[in-house]
């Protein structure tokens, strides 16, 4: 009965003598990890929707190049001016939207949602901590993120518009475009990177220091492990990009030549710069972040999938230790695969051999993780609720994304597929029906803990099936387009390389894009439109359920084992009414001889636990 008498001096029991906080302190400048998590979540969801709208306009332009965008064309012209004259998207605007779609989706939507929102809300609860280790640093992290987001958003409305050099911002293009969009992009990125670094330090300190008594490393829920590795990835991979960002900023505003070689001649005349820099150096520094960033996107998603699958198969996750070691391997290996994004920059045999080998090796822990999830289904008693549906769909969708990475990981096959739509399809399968599905699952799963009410199950299913179908309608055709040689980032959807266009000009070429491939653009456009429509039930569901959802009847509506479900609902400032003590592993479901089919982590062998 030790557990019932044990209290930690600094734990949340002192909530009774908390002074009443005003609105600003409670909701805007909060240091409570749960409020910050929700702030992150709502902001990131807004950016997610915004990034999606950018893409819908681009898909119109790709399918119908040069035709005014329906519904919003006039608005674009009004707000952005000549770049959208007559409601038509100019190549400049297309490039802006493309660069910002990538930037917003990665740095302002998915990472903040996966790491900032879920990490903040769930990690301290799952490890039995009263808050993050540095609550004020946590607040500063969110504020830096919002500032970065505002700078990125404002850049659309400055003269010349937002950055146009792709989310990868390769020099010299990035600094040779005469508008100020790139300057805003770089300053915005510096804020976003700072935000991530503050968050990473905080997560690592919290997970190491604030675990409840008994919460040993191998009793941590896999979600916490995933966030822990993610924290290290951000901490170690982002500083090189922050340095690189400042160097590129200097190239842009102070006339330096970090990434500009001697003899650069933009527009016919020799550029008036000192030269001596290297465009490839930027690529190395960018991808040194860029590749670990992929795992920053995917690891938290895998963490969510693990929690939801264990809970809804009612059995322990299969191969917990393999999962943990695989996540650690991925974390380490993700730092030495970056140059597989650069096979075609003139890479020699030896360097290419190294990066091809590491790339193949990193596929193995990913396969192990996915296999563990698949095997976990065997012998389960599977409940198909909305969070589980999203997690189950994650498995084959992420599988497609992962497998299609193989032909890109070998330099020789990348030779044909590099910079084609095949690449677009590949990484979107990883991130969109992969990561985003897991994030949706997380929202449906933890919503009752955050609000005390369930989200509507019927509309959740509509959201799920619609998203699953239309995600595939959007991304599956891109594999075919890419295989046929359609290049990405074309403001006209590749019309200039289409056999039909060339024939009109009286040119016969071998290997032009067929009508069939070009017509897939229309299918993708409609897929995207319907994908947008099926998000409407989700948006309404979130807000409607806060007030009108079905009330939960217990603090643990999913009958889950992990500690976040052993708190009051929603958890108060300080989280636990009594500091928990942990007595067992994270997924003790359907233990033979036990009366219920789950045993919470804080339950003693004699069956008592605190609430």
């Amino acid at each position: 009965m030790q557990a019932t008498t044990h209290t930690m001096p600094h734990a949340g029991v002192h909530e009774a003598h908390h002074e009443e906080q005003g609105f600003w302190r409670k909701y805007i400048f909060s240091t409570d990890h749960k409020v910050i998590g929700i702030q992150y979540g709502l902001t990131a969801l807004v950016f997610l929707l915004f990034g999606f709208f950018l893409m819908m306009m681009m898909r119109w332009q790709i399918a119908h190049p040069g035709q005014p965008i329906p519904l919003v064309g006039w608005l674009l012209e009004r707000v952005l001016g000549d770049v959208a004259a007559k409601g038509v998207m100019s190549p400049d605007l297309y490039n802006s939207f493309g660069a910002m779609h990538g930037t917003i989706m990665v740095f302002l939507a998915i990472v903040p949602l996966a790491f900032g929102a879920f990490g903040n809300y769930v990690v301290p609860l799952q490890i039995g901590a009263p808050d993050m280790a540095f609550p004020r640093v946590n607040m500063a992290s969110y504020q830096a993120y919002v500032l970065g987001g505002i700078i990125m958003f404002v850049s659309f409305f400055i003269p010349g518009g937002a950055a146009q050099a792709g989310w990868t911002s390769y020099s010299p293009l990035a600094t040779s475009i005469p508008t100020d969009g790139q300057t805003f992009w770089l300053v915005g990125m510096i804020f976003l990177i700072t935000s991530s670094l503050l968050g990473a330090v905080n997560f690592i300190a919290t997970i190491i220091q604030l675990r409840a008594p008994g919460m040993t490393w191998m009793r941590l829920p896999f979600f916490v492990w995933a966030q822990f590795v993610t924290g290290f990835l951000l901490l170690l991979a982002f500083p090189p990009l922050e340095a690189a960002g400042i160097m590129q900023l200097m190239d842009k505003v102070a006339g330096t030549s970090f990434f500009l070689p001697t003899g650069l001649a933009v527009g016919g005349e020799l550029a008036n710069i000192s030269g001596g820099g290297s465009p490839l150096l930027w690529q190395h520094l960018f991808w040194f972040l860029g590749h670990p960033e992929v795992y920053v996107l995917i690891l938290p998603a895998m963490g969510i999938v693990c929690e939801v699958i264990a809970n809804n198969t009612r059995k322990p996750i299969w191969g917990y230790k393999s999962l943990v070691y695989s996540a650690l391997c991925i974390g380490f290996l993700s730092f030495i695969v970056w140059a597989h994004h650069m096979y075609l920059t003139g890479m020699g045999t030896k360097v290419a051999t190294f990066f091809q080998t590491t790339t193949m090796i990193i596929s193995i822990p990913s396969v192990i993780i996915l296999t563990c999830f698949f095997i976990s289904l065997w012998g389960g008693s599977i409940r198909f609720n909305t969070p589980m549906l999203f997690c189950l769909a994650f498995l084959p969708m992420f599988g497609i994304g992962g497998l299609t990475g193989l032909p890109l990981g070998f330099a020789a096959s990348d030779l044909h597929l590099h910079d084609t739509y095949y690449v677009i399809a590949h990484f979107h399968y990883v991130v969109a029906p992969g990561t985003i599905f897991a994030l949706f699952a997380g929202i449906y799963y933890w919503f009752p803990k955050m609000t005390g009410r369930m989200m509507n199950e019927f509309w959740g299913r509509v959201h799920f099936w619609g998203s699953l179908i239309f995600m595939n309608v959007v991304f599956q055709p891109m594999f075919a387009q890419g295989m046929s040689g359609m290049i990405r980032r074309m403001a006209d959807g590749g019309a200039n390389y289409a056999t039909a266009t060339l024939q009109k000009q009286g040119v016969e070429v071998i290997g032009g894009l067929s009508d069939k491939m070009m017509n897939l653009h229309t299918m993708i456009l409609w897929g995207a439109v319907f994908l947008a429509l099926v998000q409407i039930p989700f948006i309404i569901n979130v807000f409607w359920s806060i007030k009108h959802g079905k009330k939960v009847t217990s603090d643990n509506p999913w009958n889950a084992t992990t500690l976040e479900w052993q708190t009051p609902t929603p958890p108060p400032h300080g989280n636990f009414a009594h500091a928990p003590t942990v007595h067992r592993g994270p997924y003790e479901y359907s233990v033979p001889g036990h009366s219920s089919d789950f045993i919470p982590q804080n339950e003693t062998d004699k069956g008592s636990r605190q609430h």
Binding site: F374, A411, A491, A495
Partner: protein
Amino acid sequence: MDQFIRKALGLPVLASENGKGVDDLIVWIHWLMIALFVGWFIYFVYALWRFRARRNPKADHYGVRGHTSNYIELAVAGIEIVLLVFVAIPLWAKAVDVTKIPQAGEATNIQVVAQQFAWNARYAGADGQFGKQDMRLVSSTNIFGIDYTDPNAADDVAVLNEIHVPVNKPVVTYISSKDVIHSFKIIALRVTQDAIPGMRIPAWFKPTMEGRYQINCAQLCGNGHSAMSQGFLVVESQEAFDQWLASKTGGATTFE
């Protein structure tokens, strides 16, 4: 079956000797991918059906106890190693090893310089020697920055957007850019090489089919990226090529 999958994948027409290995590797990897995906998927659907809560109300705490999955993972790793060591690495070595690039006598040497938004090419001319270059001499009329005081430069032939090469003979292109990063890509010849300012990177291929091919710019290079499609590679017989080259006056860019 092999032909079937080639067709199903929709690989575009192949018109070079070097592209055969690329296509084979793509096909073999897709075999592996399809096998894994189908295997996983069948298991997945079966497990969902068999272990749904209604049919199986009580979960088994232990689940799978065998080691089949380990063997499958080992097999996957084994196949990847074979593809890597015996196919991918040798192929890449053949493509990029600078010591194995066909020599001047047996190949057509071309210098390619990309710019926003066009392709320039330079041939060495009758003497087989490129004239000296100096980027300080670059101007709108001297895109390569050729030093005309160098006697070798006199017969160099420079062309814009229309690059001719003879069929069935290796072509070595030395690829560079004078402003931003572009990428020289010809789909049917399975050749891709980034054109990076400050670097001059060799890439070679051996076209086997006469005809006209479009040069794709495969790297975002500015607002004219999608319109940088005016460059063509013309593969023709040796005689036709010799005639074409002789018709070009040395030393100046010809705009066709």
